[in-house]
Amino acid sequence: MKDKMFKYITMLTAILSVVFLFGIIISIFTEGFSVFSKYGFFNFLFGTSWHPTHEPAEMGIFGLIVSSIVVTIGALIVALPLGVGSAIYLSEIANPKLREILKPFIELLASIPSVIYGLFGMAFLAPFIRKVFNLPIGLNAFSASIILGIMVIPIISSISEDAFSSVSKHLKEASYALGANKIETIFRVIFPSAKSGVLTGVLLGFGRAIGETMVVLMVAGGSTAMFKNIFQPVRPMTYAIAAEMGETVVGGMHYSALFGIAIILFIITFISNLLMQMIINKGSN
């Protein structure tokens, strides 16, 4: 009897997650739908002008999408070499003692709340970037990319490290026995065997960066102008949703447009998750 009750209670908790997921999906799709029907899906998606409070309102989110992608790719450019490099060092080169010291530090980087990253970016990095590149404003896509990149390092690093460490000892031995040195073994054997793991880390980092809100809200600058160069303030999708939601009229077109952005964001992260699952499944075969 008790066993049965326990079974149903745990089953209920499992089902609840599914309920939450579909609840969220259904609500953003119903709220966002009216902007699609009024402006047309493609006009909404590819319109280059975002002036939701003008009269008449302009609701093209292409600039927001581009901004999101720019800071996310920028973040990956920062995080990929640093994350993979540190993973190679930790798993293949560092002696075990040093690894035990270094690893917690990299993991600690992942536990810092994003608002602290934002604070650091706003108060220290942005003024520094402004001075170094002689810019009118330091809160821009470049600064946001760097801060997001630092946030993504531990994700890429820890997943890549797991992937490198799980490369079989027998393969490494085979490589050394054929006269390969450490660098050749890392690049010709370990890295190719672990590349699906690294790719998983990159996709996870992509999802983290494109969905990150607080950092971009504090560091990206917020300009709705179409993206032209990396040193310009930008407004990524998450920025728009978080900053503008408070000013909208519930049920109004701007309100619905923000849900429309949320739908697009959801689809992007959904696809990157799907890709990741495909890579993981392929890797395990």
């Binding site: 393969l171 490589s175 054929l178 006269g179």
Partner: protein
């Protein structure tokens, strides 16, 4: 008169505090099949791994000399990567790289810095022919090596070692993970290969040592108990421990 290609003199090896190999002095004759036998944990694999300095990777400490073709391979001037090309090794479990058959066999050549495609093609073909694998794989050289059977994988690993032109092939229980048929084929191959190359094989299979080797080394608890012609060791062992091991009294 057989020429000795590889000589060890008072070889001692430690992993940390563990004294694994004790005062081993043997001569390995050229172009023969040399078996190293002994019960588990006697140090036979460790001895084998001394000859291509694979034990360096696990932080072994070594005293004594190992002389290959007149040169001490533990002197500092020796290029250990070069040594490992001269002394090829095949492991207990087939360990192909997750690459194509062709890329596996060409691996060492590329490490060597050979870029000439025709030369690589030629060496890959020849190495695969050496291990009787060419006819089985020539139509699917660019397929993944994991598609091969266990026995084929192991022969491919031998071809991979062959490609860089070794003088010695070290085989560390090469058939222990294989079925009897594949084992048979590899045993025949080993006997054929000694025309070209010196072979050292570690095996826990006494009958296998008896079938294919010309010389046998018997190790027990890290010590060399007996070394000599296989037929002599198997018929009139000088040491009672050798006799006991060969007749299955322990092992």
């Amino acid at each position: 008169m057989v020429k000795n290609l590889l000589i060890t003199e008072n070889l001692n090896l430690w992993f940390g505090e563990d004294h694994i190999l004790k005062d081993i002095s043997i001569n390995i004759p050229e172009k023969k099949v040399n078996a190293i036998i002994g019960p588990s944990g006697c140090g036979k694999s460790t001895l084998l791994r001394c000859f291509n300095r694979m034990n360096d990777l696990s932080g072994a400490r070594i005293k004594g000399n190992i002389v290959l073709g007149g040169k001490d391979i533990y002197k500092e001037k020796i290029d250990v990567y070069d040594l490992r090309m001269k002394v090829g090794m095949v492991f207990q479990k087939p360990n192909p790289f997750p690459k194509s058959i062709y890329e596996n066999v060409a691996f060492g050549l590329k490490i060597k810095g050979i870029r000439n495609k025709n030369l690589i093609n030629e060496k890959v073909e020849q190495s695969l022919k050496n291990v009787w694998l060419w006819d089985e794989v020539k139509d699917r050289l660019h397929k993944n090596a994991f598609d091969l059977s266990g026995g084929q994988q192991q022969r491919m690993c031998m071809a991979r070692a062959f490609a860089v032109g070794p003088e010695i092939l070290l085989l560390d229980e090469p058939t222990s993970a294989l079925d009897p048929k594949s084992t048979n084929k590899i045993e025949e191959l080993i006997v054929e290969l000694k025309k070209k190359i010196t072979i050292l094989i570690v095996t826990h299979n006494i009958a296998q040592a008896g079938r294919i080797s010309d010389f046998t080394t018997f190790l027990y608890l890290g010590k060399l108990i007996e070394f000599g012609k296989t037929e002599e060791i198997f018929t009139v062992p000088r040491d009672s421990r050798t006799e006991q091991y060969l007749t299955g009294k322990f092992g």
